[in-house]
Symmetry: C3
Subunit: 418 residues, 3 copies
């Protein structure tokens, strides 16, 4: 089964941007797996310090040589057009055209990914090799795009839990044909939502699929009150390359989500990095006014692999196995969040007599003590309301699940309360 | 002189348990050296979450083969009977008897120590070698014990100090013929009490000799108010083997007693371990409701030596030299506690002129400065009421006694106050 | 140019002490470069716990042998007389004279530096070699000094800033012919004052040239209220030897001045040492009643070089290059203090849109991000009023000046406030 990879491949050809029909179509396809509530924010709307830009749509674009051959063709790859390019229809020499051409001289076979959301201009991206083969022209240059009042679109999927406290999983959906960045994140999030729905949940889980930066800013602007309900969160991106997982801590640095991922990742190759205010939408969630406990989970982080923001970030660059590993880390981390809490020992003066409650081996004098019994003693000893099960697991060195099982046994026995 | 070892040897043959005449006789013998106030807590008394069990006494027990030979004989070693065994008088085949026999297959020459305080059963402990030599039987099996309403007994010795604040030294006295665990602790505590009585004391010292777990729980239940007076404490156990000292920190981890023992032990081989809720009666003192600053001082800790809880933990296993080393560490640590306090510099603006008070060398310009003068400068500089002499010793790197002597000189000179 | 070394050479021959005409003449010469406000504190004045001593002046002193030759001659070096020696005029045998002679047996060619401010006595310092050549005598011994009511003198140079908050630079000026200790400190401070005067300043800078201990105590006694205005400070001493810089932290240990010097010194060989209450006048500034954030900047610290407090600490022992390095560290540290502050992000919800303010590159999708842009993001993210630019520099790993420039750009753009 390669359900996640199939979704990556299906979404790959669409020309996404921070607005427009490619973005809408992407949300529709995600919505086939998990129902999305779609929001449309009109052009010109003030969102925090930003303004929703005009909506951009594109139908075709090319550079034709004098023989009528499309040297550069949007139909072959939507990366060929600089995102948010204004319409152009002109005949130009190479010299005139050159300032509008973007290549990667160091990676001559690859097409770069470029955008210009907030400065009205236009351009083409092509390989250095293609550029090298271009004569002086003239060329027929055409971009059949529209930049007009419209909407910015984002989608949300909410899985209610016992509590109104929320866990946020946020994915940017504004990149065109780039697989790892961020169709892999979208695919993992979609699968994760389906898995979480199968379990009884304490937290409410909110999945947000929005264009980067202005999309999360729009969501925050329209959900300022709701933001306070977010107890934990991650930005999920670059989730499918073959590198090990990287977890970037929230601005707080020692938030529960940060500690949980550090704990979960101990068992596999991984990297932990401190917060910095550059990267994905954690920049917005961790701005000082919100300061939400939201980290960022990737495999190789942004700009950390040569394929980053180039035509080489295609569906072959990501693997089902890597996405499954990312998914597994999320499942374990959210499972730990679900179970993690601080208990209060109801019998805090001395140890309660576990033996008469069937919780302790009756034959004394033996020098071996089972992990489960140690975990019960640790939970009782530390449960003064200030130490969470994760604290206890870390202090005792016992596995989190053993500690959580012990707490559950003590809860059933009436020895601790939540 | 081998006073402590003599006490170990004298107490060794008694059949102690968490109740009973062997326990009472042990307290009587300790009381010959230091007067004990004896408490008797009736069977059935509720103590915290526990109930005082029936009192157990035993006169004889054996397994006789068909020739009338005692294969296993309580008279030879009280370890042969599982503690709290109910009375038995039967003839049984080996097959019937086998579930009641406990051996140590990995240490075939040794007899294990086993108890069953809270599940009414019976059993014998014997060496694997003895078991191997036993034929199919039948055997005459007899345990002449009584399990009946009675009392749990503990003893206290209090040495009053200028202050009602207490230092607790707690020893478990419930183990039968095991020398290191805990007759060595009893012997060191008894000697320590006599030494402390010879000095002027700031603190009141309370020595508690009680059966493990239920004994300390009984004391805590009957002294809930007094527990609040305990400023420092140790559980003293396994005090006589040849290994280096281990100090286990209190639950608080950075209590003054923890820092004092860490400081004192720096000068000799030792191990410091963090608190865990398994071990001796520190489990009770450090339960979250009490959370007393009580650490645990041992040499090799429980279950850390092959002789632990076996017949090999006999008087030859412990040495006078090791007990003296344990005693010396206690004497130094309590001496430091006695002297450690925070002073207040009465002349805190600039340095007071030490020279005119005869506290400072008069000939300036020399580059060597005596440790005692440095200590005075440190005490003056740090004595804002928030830094103890131990803090100052640790920050300055100067020996504690030099710092304490400097503080005393400054106190006499009227430059600091307590 | 060797302006600082020239000042060292000019001041070197003067016979300074904690009072007297050599001290006054020293302040006059410093005053030629930077105007000084001179304070004269009368003998007998109570200053904190101290009393201003009598004023000491000396015109001549010698030990003459029977041939009339001056074996030891104050005119050759003022180190030859123990500071504060009372007048003497006598004929003495070597045996009688010997208790008044001070040598350095381990450094037989050098003359030691000795004083006896607070015990009325007299003495000569000479080399061990000279002593070895002295016959039984008799000798004509003469010290033409006066010890009489007078004054203690100190001088201050204040460079006003926008704020009344002060930075203190304190130099002891009580040592006679010793170049590194502390004419080099005086020379660096004098040059530093002239450099600081050329810049717009936030802080008011106070340079204090005072005799050690009793001089700084006198200043503190007469400026108790002003002491509260001191936000940062250093004691500057031993500023010219060839060793690397040593910065000794203030009593607080993590004061801004401590962090600033640690930051500045990272780029050159240096040593950081923790506070101790021995050394120079930081002893007084860091006494617990004042507890001022005043560190001590030296090159090789006191008593750390063999020439310390001997005739070998002469002008050849210090170099212009070393003094320039000390000066440069001060200039950088005070420059950082001037710029360091905490800002408040006025647009703390999400990132403000830097692009439309011309603060951000418009072409998105590129993987390289300039340091300046990162610095702006960091300043915005951390500027919640609790994090200084130094905090931000340390957390981000970005150079302090880049961070401060970013903050300035954001201030101009109205995105942050002070």
């Amino acid at each position: 089964m390669s359900e996640m990879h199939a979704l990556v491949r299906r979404l790959y050809p669409l020309c996404r941007s921070i607005t427009g029909s490619g973005l809408r179509r992407t949300l529709e396809i995600i919505g086939e797996s998990i129902p999305l509530e779609i929001s449309e924010v009109p052009t010109g709307t003030q969102v925090l310090d930003w303004t929703i830009p005009k909506e951009w749509n594109i139908r075709d674009a090319y550079i034709k040589d004098s023989s009528g051959t499309r040297i550069v063709d949007f139909a072959a790859s939507n990366l060929h057009v600089v995102g948010y390019s204004v319409p152009v229809s002109a005949t130009m020499t190479l010299e005139e055209l050159r300032p509008h051409l973007h290549t990667l001289p160091g990676q001559p076979g690859l097409v770069p990914y470029r955008t210009s959301y907030y400065a009205e201009t236009w351009g083409f991206c092509l390989s250095e090799n293609t550029l090298a083969g271009m004569g002086p022209g003239p060329y027929e240059v055409r971009i059949d795009s529209t930049l007009a009042d419209g909407h910015l679109t984002y989608g949300e999927h909410v899985i209610p839990g016992r509590s109104a406290e929320e866990v946020l999983i946020s994915c940017h959906v504004c990149h065109p044909s780039l697989a790892n960045d961020n169709l892999a994140g979208v695919a993992v999030a979609t699968r994760l939502a389906r898995l979480l729905a199968q379990e009884e949940r304490r937290y409410t889980y909110r999945f947000l699929f929005a264009p980067g930066t202005v999309g999360s800013i729009a969501w925050l602007a329209r959900n300022r009150d709701r933001a306070g309900r977010i107890r934990h969160g991650i930005v999920l991106a670059c989730a499918g390359d073959r590198g090990p997982i990287t977890y970037k801590r929230s601005r707080r640095g020692e938030a529960e989500i940060d500690r949980v991922f550090a704990h979960v990742l101990r068992d596999r190759p991984h990297t932990l990095v401190d917060f910095s205010p550059y990267g994905y939408d954690e920049r917005q969630y961790c701005s000082p006014g919100f300061d939400l406990p939201v980290g960022c989970l990737t495999r190789t982080p942004y700009a950390g692999y040569p394929e980053y923001h180039t035509s080489a970030d295609d569906p072959d660059f990501v693997t089902e196995e890597a996405m499954r590993d990312t998914l597994d880390a999320c499942v374990r981390a959210f499972g730990m969040l679900e179970r993690n809490r601080a208990y209060v020992n109801l019998s805090p003066y001395g140890e309660p007599q576990l033996g008469r409650r069937g919780l302790y081996e009756s034959l004394g004098g033996r020098s071996d003590t089972k992990q489960a019994q140690m975990a019960m003693l640790w939970v009782l000893n530390q449960s003064d309301g200030a130490h969470s099960l994760l604290d206890i697991s870390e202090r005792s060195g016992l596995p989190f699940d053993v500690v959580a099982d012990a707490a559950q046994a003590l809860l059933v026995a009436g020895l601790v309360k939540e």
